[in-house]
Symmetry: C2
Subunit: 236 residues, 2 copies
């Protein structure tokens, strides 16, 4: 059964779906499981036999270097697939864990295959995967070439846009269930430095982050400062 309010799927956004496809979407939401915070949905090396779709809450892809340093390679929000391309891969090469409590739809391979046969859904899935790739490239650029201050600002701009797209949070305020440690691991920085950057962002009246809530005071300046260009998200 669908949750109310229904989590907006990218699938619904990318395609204008015929009735039959809508039924299929409903069936994809049949098996929804709840994860506590900081649990792995998929662990590196596994070969899951169901596809996982974020329905509510957040998770992240991550890898661990040297048994200690962690790097988050993607933040997944409602509507994002954890592993749409299962069936193609043997072992997954990274783990995916929740950030805060989260609801995840478990979708059988068969159902997924059925979806893959509907042109509209197939197209939507490919488009979602294209956007994911664009986000990965944007992160490389962000981490590789922007100083910490701009880097944090850029991530916030990205999340603001993505969340708005799926209808979570308002334009200038949203929940961000990441600790400063998590932010550090997503941006290739240390928690201490994240803290100082957040202070500066606050002092300059661009945004605040407290109680897991981001409040943006000056989105245009945040975007200008970080060089954010939303085209890679293919929002339109």
């Amino acid at each position: 059964m669908r949750l109310a309010p229904p989590p907006l799927l990218h699938l619904e956004q990318y395609a204008s779906l015929p009735g039959a496809d809508r039924n299929l979407l409903d069936r994809m939401m049949d098996d929804i499981r709840t994860f506590k915070t900081r649990r792995d949905i998929i662990q590196i090396g596994e070969t899951p036999d169901t596809v996982h779709l974020m329905v509510e809450g957040w998770s992240c892809r991550y890898s661990v270097v040297d048994d200690s340093r962690r790097q988050i390679t993607a933040l997944l929000i409602p509507g994002d697939f954890c592993d749409a391309d299962i069936g193609m891969r043997e072992e997954i090469d990274h783990s995916i864990g929740t950030l805060g409590e989260a609801k995840v739809a478990f979708i059988s391979k068969d159902l997924m295959a059925e979806a893959g046969e509907r042109p509209a859904l197939k197209r939507a899935l490919r488009l979602a995967s294209l956007v994911d790739e664009g986000v990965l490239r944007a992160w490389i650029v962000n981490i590789g070439r922007r100083p910490a201050y701009d880097r944090v600002a850029h991530l916030i701009c990205e999340l603001q846009a993505r969340l708005l797209k799926v209808g979570v949070g308002s334009g200038d305020r949203f929940e961000l269930p990441l600790t400063q440690d998590d932010l550090a691991d997503a941006l290739g920085l240390t928690p201490v430095h994240i803290n100082r950057v957040l202070r500066r962002l606050r002092e300059e009246n661009l945004m605040t982050l407290s109680n897991n809530t981001v409040t943006i005071y000056n989105l245009p300046e945040l975007r200008r400062q970080s060089g954010f260009d939303d085209r890679y998200l293919r929002l339109r």
Copy 2:
């Protein structure tokens, strides 16, 4: 017509192809164009109407930040597609330029669509795209969490493995048509620092880079030092 020796395509590697598919592959190689060094194959904002496949030589995806800082987000070697997913996208969100002289196959949308209908080829294309994603994540981890020395070593390990896979270069020696500036832009460092790191790698007898040629003296140590784990490349 195919070049001799034929550039090994990932397509050929991923799939054991029936005869009909082989013919199709041949036709895909009908229109091969040569680019001089440092030319854009595709520029940001374009909507190319043919698919581009690297046949010989190298190219890179890149973005420019602040009109001056460049970040390379992928290195493309023979067998890599520049834009297999055309038809799905409107404007491409990054440029692709050659590094050194290169030969690129221009493949019509129609031919590509035909390929997409052959199960073996379709699967091979999806797998190639999965590997591309894995490489992007590996780059994020590399740039985000490894010090410069390990970072350079890791990239070299990756390229060694990828080149070996497509049969370019020998196991411990290959051509690398990147300047130190290019390496810096790929790794999120400065050319000066790249230079110092290369010196240290040379002094420690792990590898040398000169005259656009990488020579590896101690691959196991290079891999150990950089924490290289080739699973994300799905070689086997």
